[in-house]
Amino acid sequence: MSASSETVISGKPPSVSSARSADYVEKLALAERDAAIALPVLLLFASAIIWLVGWSVLNFILAIKLVSPGFLGDGSFFTYGRLQPVATNIFTYGWASCAGMGTALWVMARLCRVRVGTPFSVLIGTAFWNTGLLIGIIATQAGAGRALKYLELPVWSQLIMFLGFALIAIYVIGLFVHRPPGPGFISQFYIVAAFLWLGWSLLAANIFASLPWVRGVITAVNGAWFAGNFQGLWFTALGLAAVYYLIPKVTGKAIHSYYLAHLGFWTLAFLYPWTGLHQYNGGPIPAWLMTLSIVATTLTIVPVATVAVNHHVTMVGSHFMMHYSPTLRFTVAGAMCYTASAVTGILLAQRSVSHIAGMSFAGVAQDYFVLYTFFSFVMFGAIYFIMPRLVRREWVSAQLIKFHFWGAAYGIGLTILFLTVAGLFQGSGWNSAVIRPVMVAQMAEAPLRGTILAAFLLLAGHAVFAVHFILMVLRMGQVSSEPTYLASPTASYGYYEEEEQETHGKGAA
């Protein structure tokens, strides 16, 4: 795996020609790149985790407010209608985007093998992004928000964020442009494409929404198009890029098929821009436009299944590693949920399902499924992988990681379950004309109370994660030559060895 023909770094390796030395030199180069990119990635991760904790608190408050509207008073600043989009924006633009950009930056720096100085532009870009988000949040909370999903922040704050984003994007694309000659890694393609697509989407959607002569349902179509791109082209691409890097890296195997990876990428590129509209099933949009969107969403099973096959076959024989590797546990769980969330997304896009699940909490559950169970879990895995390489300490305690995992897993699992149930109650309630509106709200109330517990679990898991992260940043992690594992690797291997030998007939590295 580290034969000298594949150690592509500029400059000559030292004259000792053994494979071991070439491997050593390559790892040294990796360590060097990690050191160079450490500060911006750390900054992005730190902002991401701060936003995550903030979101967890808001999410908990919102879950309570949904069933007890008077919680925290009746003032304008904390009213549900303003707090809810603020929470969504903090999650997507704060936690998820910063974690995604940090991971993307790190993966690109490694894969593109470019020696870099301190990327000041990225630091400034991060500052712009966070500042724009913060003041946009405050303005929205004070009532200056817009009414488009994921575009609620005022346009001037989005402009500030976009300037920061552009700096980071230019840097990432610069890394890509300087990569060594060769076919390239699939992760690089996903990352570069993700940055370009989000940049274009942000610009186009915001400008279109601000043109005073653009009126009518096309504004909603524009907003839905942006929302689809945000989930499907930005987060999905970044998440898949991380999975495509981490799974081979941790398991030590190459990705199963180069061809399938590219098939998955290009079908994603052509299909996902069309997937945003189905949230308006039944709405005042011409039928052909809705039908196109539903067809495209259904066809996304092609990239999803392709990627699933690729990941699954790569992982076959290595599932026992999820027992001890925090990275793999989070990342593979996330990758499996990518497939699952895509399937539920396709189901929800069908008009017959929209009859009962449309415009209900089931749609909110779907958003959580994609953005949290897939994307955020992959990001957790990536952060657990990357941090030791940035601060050169290992994670303090496997217990904390386990607590985080199970808190997040139960938290999001319950959230999605309860919201889906609430949504189905809601949808069937609205469809039954004899049920009064207040009764519909009451039908959904029991599962909504359950989301309060689920939000609390999420908050607990994230608080532990944040504390653990702070310990790492303060360099209080373990000095060790072995990563922090959740269980003993040899024991895990032995435990599954018999099973693996039965099913696959051979062990894995």
């Binding site: 594949e6 195997k253 039908t291 259904t298 099973i301 030791p388």
Partner: protein, 258 residues
């Protein structure tokens, strides 16, 4: 590509050579254990994905089936790709989703009765002068309430509306001198009939409906006349004269609820 002038601030520059020699400047270069730890715990980078395995056959078949489904769905529910079709079941799909009752959106139309139509048209057309109460303005616009011209013969009434009325007019002993314009160029037959049906059955008036066909026939008959009526002209028309093709005034119909 490394000779371009984009500042390093913005884009990483590719350093030409000797990457490895003596340029590693770790902040704790003396911490050999940490450095070795970093290298020891690192796994090798994965190889390029060189394999070219294709899709499993069953998946390829599934995708082809899906494509076929997509084409069919697009044809059935695409609404003919028209921008004014919003319900996907309204065009081709009605073959496969027959409606037991009228299709959604094409439910029995709110067809207004002549009285209701006339009422809404009256507001925009006649009310300015004859007032919403139908009482008119003393000295200027005659009242419609209990007016002999309104509840009397149809021919007189429709003639006034089509051609207009000028000069002094005496009704119930009061004199009025407004200028009523002719409406034949701005109101079609249906509208004239509706307004007059309304006027003849509102405010306590009770008289027969006016039919659009009758209006059309009278309009044709009077086509050659260009000037509006005067009081003597209009009183020259027999009082109970019907519209062409009609009988003498029939009893008042049941008024539409209002």
């Amino acid at each position: 590509m490394s000779e371009h002038k984009i500042p390093e601030f913005l884009i990483p520059q590719k350093y030409p050579k000797h990457e490895m020699e003596g340029r590693m400047d770790y902040d704790e270069a003396g911490n050999v254990a940490s450095l070795h730890g970093a290298i020891a715990r690192e796994k090798s980078e994965p190889a390029y994905e060189g394999q070219n395995k294709r899709l499993p056959n069953w998946l390829t078949v599934f995708f082809c089936v899906l494509l076929f489904w997509s084409g069919g769905y697009l044809f059935l529910f695409g609404g003919g790709f028209r921008n004014d079709v919003f319900s996907e079941r309204e065009t081709v799909a009605t073959m496969y989703f027959p409606r037991s009752s009228a299709p959604a959106g094409a439910a029995p139309e709110t067809e207004k009765t002549p009285f209701e139509l006339g009422k809404s048209l009256f507001t925009g057309t006649c009310q300015a002068c004859h007032q919403a109460s139908g009482q008119g303005v003393p000295g200027q616009y005659p009242p419609l309430v209990g007016s002999e011209f309104v509840v009397g013969g149809e021919r007189r009434l429709v003639s006034i509306v089509l051609k207009g009325l000028q000069g002094p007019l005496t009704i119930h002993g009061q004199s009025y001198n407004g200028q009523m314009p002719g409406w034949e160029s701005s109101l079609n037959d249906k509208k004239v009939a509706a307004i007059l049906t309304y006027v003849r059955n509102e405010w306590g008036n009770k008289a027969s409906e006016i039919s659009p066909e009758g209006v059309a026939a009278l309009r044709a008959e009077l086509a050659s006349r260009t000037e509006s009526w005067t009081e003597s002209d209009i009183r020259a028309i027999p009082e109970k004269a019907p519209l062409p093709g009609g009988k003498e005034s029939a009893p008042a119909p049941a008024a539409a609820p209002h």
